[in-house]
């Protein structure tokens, strides 16, 4: 089930909201209700994967208990944590990476081993990382063990963030399981956040997806023009941002509707002045996870010599690349970011914030080229697109298709660029500070109208059955 669907919007969500608030007399019942609703939400997509989710909840529940009882025994604790990581990552490896590994072994050794054809359980990368973070936090003492398996299940499987994050730390949610407050204000902010996310997803992300997917379809078959290649890469950059950040908006909004407060996952990443800064603004929960559970335990930057720091960075970026998918392009994408961030560390002053236009353009270019690697289904397509973008192998600078896409989708491209910037956030701040005068009053009044219009437009697109891919589902 996905958020941007008729099933979720008009069947699942109203039922869950109604059931949740009808049980307002008992927090315990509300939690159990949310847990079972989340399992139903997940099972609707693929019932077989639900067993893997439930197994993950159970096994990490047991690990959490064992780790608590063995806290004083360092060797046993280390052994348990190793076993926990091996179990969780083993499941992830089997479902996500085994096919890729076997295919490559076959290619390199010219053998013909059977390639496993296992369906990737939705959100496995997300809930696996959440589960690992729970057990590690319990072992570190930064979170208390959860003795109620349903509550742990609620943390791991809560439907707003189950499929595509944000990756929520248990410590951040621990108290909220029992002691969160449901207020009208939270509910309202949550609804508005959800609707904004829905609009971003359906109106901008999906339309950019059409442009990007059509252009990327052409690349293996034809030599395209330089402008079309650039347009495809820019469209994908906007698609992935709006797709993923919209999902996070919807997840955060839904969390607020049920009283949960999740941390922000995006902070206008395309406003960054360096790639290093970009990764402080993009998929914040993932970079935080890698920082807390991989980079810092390896020593981080505070190590004896720079070689070890570089090694630590390389490990993190390789893992970041691999986390996104089982394909060489993701690995190279991770390595690409590693090299750029390393160069930035060497050549830039980290304490000096330089938001010049040159830095912004440089950052956008670097990120855009990274997305070319990320989007391409294999290195050959990535190379082909780079060759066209840089004028090495191309069919003209402009072509009819470029004009076509700009005419048909130019307005969405413009909105995408505008809303990649914090223009809405600034408007809100100015409204709160009453800087618009009488116009501010009308802007406040028209807010309801605008949001409800966005909702109706989204429903129109959904009922029509428009293109609705969800790219982060592949992770």
């Amino acid at each position: 089930m996905i958020f941007s669907s008729i099933l979720f919007l008009f069947y699942f969500l109203p039922l869950v909201i109604s059931g949740y608030y009808l049980l307002c007399f008992s927090r315990k019942l509300q939690n159990y209700f949310l847990f079972f609703a989340s399992i139903f939400f997940y099972a609707w997509g693929n019932i077989k994967s639900t067993f893997i989710l439930l197994f993950s909840i159970l096994i990490n529940y047991i690990f959490g208990l064992m780790v608590t009882y063995c806290k004083s025994k360092k060797h046993l604790l280390r052994y348990l944590l190793t076993l926990m990581c091996a179990t969780n990552l083993g499941i992830l490896f089997i479902y996500k990476y085994s096919g890729f590994v076997v295919r490559n072994i076959n290619d390199f050794t010219q053998k013909n081993y059977i390639v496993p054809q296992l369906a990737l359980p939705l959100g496995i990368s997300f809930f696996t990382f959440q589960a690992i973070s729970y057990v590690i936090d319990v072992s570190r003492g930064t979170a208390r063990v959860q003795k109620n398996p349903f509550y742990l299940g609620l943390y791991i499987a809560l439907f707003p963030q189950l499929i595509a994050g944000p990756i929520v730390k248990y410590a951040a949610i621990e108290k909220q399981i029992l002691f969160r407050k449901n207020t009208l204000r939270k509910f309202s902010v949550g609804c508005c956040r959800f609707l904004t996310g829905l609009g971003k997803k359906i109106i901008i992300a999906n339309t950019m997806a059409i442009v990007a997917d059509k252009i990327y379809q052409l690349i293996p078959l034809y030599t395209i023009s330089v402008s079309l290649a650039w347009l495809g890469s820019i469209a994908y950059s906007l698609q992935i941002f709006f797709d993923f950040s919209a999902y996070s908006d919807m997840a955060i909004g839904l969390g607020l509707i049920f009283g949960f407060e999740f941390d922000e996952n995006f902070n206008y990443p395309y406003m960054s002045a360096s790639v290093t800064e970009f990764w402080r603004r993009w998929h914040i929960s993932l970079t935080t996870w890698f920082k807390d559970y991989v980079y810092f335990p390896l020593g981080g930057s505070r190590v004896k010599n720079n070689d070890i720091m570089v090694r630590n960075m390389l490990i993190v970026w390789l893992l970041t690349g691999i986390w996104h998918g089982a394909e060489w392009t993701f690995l190279f994408w991770g390595l690409y970011h590693f090299f750029i961030i390393l160069l930035e560390k060497v050549f830039r002053n980290p304490h000096k914030k330089n938001h010049s236009i040159v830095n912004h353009i440089y950052t956008l270019l670097m990120i855009n080229w990274g997305w070319v690697l990320f989007r391409s289904s294999n290195l050959s397509i990535a190379l082909s697109l780079f060759q066209t973008m840089f004028g090495i192998k191309y069919k003209g600078i402009f072509c009819d298709y470029t004009i076509l896409f700009l005419k048909e989708y130019g307005i969405f491209l413009i909105f995408g660029i505008i809303f990649s910037t914090p223009v809405a956030k600034r408007c809100n701040r100015l409204l709160v500070e009453n800087r618009f005068g009488i116009a501010g009053f009308f802007m406040n009044v028209s807010y309801l109208f605008c949001i409800i219009c966005i909702f109706f437009v989204c429903v129109t697109y959904l009922v029509k059955g428009s293109y609705n891919p969800f790219i982060y589902f592949n992770f």
Binding site: N444, F456, V457, V463, K464
Partner: protein, 401 residues
């Protein structure tokens, strides 16, 4: 700050009200469909559960309350945005208002044409044993004259260009073919008279022109002597009932009437005396109609459907195409030629006109015909077999022999 939250609270409450109201309306509207799916479910494995959930979700999507209003709204939005393509470039509109399928990637090549021709040669081989003639007739699309008045860059699908490739391959197997494009070009009729703007089919007038050309070709090339004096091919012997702005075709139903507009629909009926029996397959077995052309070969109930999205006026001829086999017997010409039309929906009106000059016209839709066509031909003898498939379906290889 207070205003900041007040506006959000009003918005949230409005959203909640709309959500719950629409949700109840939807549930009420889709309940019969969902109930039917549940009652007819057959769960033997986990995969069946996934199938059930997929079917339920499809039913919820397909039966959304006031669905067609939303499709019209979508069309209106696209008009406002001055979009000339819809549905991820699967439909493109040209400057004359015609809706076309579109695709960035060409989908019919030499190899496919050869495979198709080889497939047809198996049919020819069978018919040669029975000394029955075979003719391939491929209705062209709006690109019959090689040009449309399109917008820059939209990759309108030109399926007519596949006809040359296909016919060249057919000729290598010595299979006769009829190219309707010259007749269409020289007919003196405008494209709007030959093709619907909102549908992929030719108009009934276009089908009649094809009928005229087909009979002329058959008489010139085979010893059938159909309509020797041209009486049944004379346009003046037919009457037209004009339904203005009545038809929303297959492309139009995807985009809405607001965006696509409506086509006029002309029902063409013979003025002369007719008496037919039309027997065709249905779910229970067979259904039979008897009487005049109008009573037998026209499903008049389709003409009375007011909902533009539910009516398909084109399929009023011969009940459309969604049945495997039908037999039209011309009671006024019992000794006339016996023709089998292996066909798609394009040939429905054509078969109706053809039945006036023949003794018997059988129509067979291979997509739904479960038996082997070659086995069928062993048991049924014809004077002529015509293989008629719209050029747009050539890449789909719908026919297997």
């Amino acid at each position: 700050m207070k205003n900041f939250f007040i506006k959000k609270e009003f918005t949230a409450l409005t959203f909640l009200f709309l959500l719950l109201t629409y949700s109840m309306l939807n549930l009420h509207h889709t309940y019969p469909f969902l109930k039917s799916l549940f009652l007819n479910k057959d769960i033997a494995s986990l995969n069946d559960v996934n199938t059930l959930t997929d079917n339920l979700e499809y039913a919820m999507q397909d039966n959304f309350f006031q669905k067609y209003s939303y499709i019209e709204n979508y069309g209106a939005l696209q008009l406002l945005l001055e979009k000339h393509e819809m549905n991820q470039f699967s439909i493109g509109v040209d400057r004359d208002g015609f809706l076309h399928p579109s695709n960035f990637i060409e989908s019919f090549d030499q190899k496919q044409a050869k495979d198709l021709a080889k497939n047809v040669s198996a049919l020819k081989k069978k018919l040669d044993e029975q000394k029955t003639e075979l003719l391939v007739m491929t209705p062209p699309d709006r690109f019959y004259d090689g040009k449309i008045n399109g917008y820059l860059g939209i990759p309108y699908s030109n399926f007519s260009q596949y006809i040359d490739l296909y016919y060249n391959c057919l000729s290598s197997y010595d299979i006769d073919s009829l190219d309707l494009r010259p007749a269409f070009i020289h007919s003196g009729l405008a494209k709007e008279q030959l093709y619907y703007k909102t549908d992929h089919h030719w108009t009934i007038r276009g089908a009649f022109l094809a009928f005229q050309e087909l009979i002329t070709f058959l008489n010139e090339n085979y010893a059938l002597q159909l309509d020797p004096d041209g009486y049944y091919r004379d346009w003046n012997h037919y009457t037209t009932i004009h339904y203005p702005n009545a038809y929303l075709g297959s492309y139009g139903r995807k985009t809405g009437a607001v965006y696509a507009g409506l086509d006029d629909f002309d029902l063409i009926l013979p003025k002369f005396n007719t008496s037919f029996e039309f027997k065709r397959t249905n779910e229970e077995g067979f259904i039979t109609y008897q009487g005049s052309f109008e009573d037998t070969l026209i499903n008049k109930s389709i003409l009375t459907i007011k909902d533009l999205f539910q009516q398909d006026l084109y399929s009023c001829y011969l009940d459309g195409v969604l049945y495997s086999y039908g037999k039209i017997t011309n009671r006024l010409n019992p000794n006339g030629a016996k023709i089998l039309l292996i066909r798609d929906s394009y040939s429905s009106p054509l078969a109706a006109f053809l039945s006036s000059v023949c003794g018997e016209v059988d129509v067979l839709y291979p997509v739904l015909f479960e038996e082997s066509i070659l086995s069928f031909l062993s048991e049924n003898h014809y004077d002529m077999v015509i293989l008629s498939g719209y050029c747009g379906t050539l890449p789909e290889k719908l026919i297997h022999f």
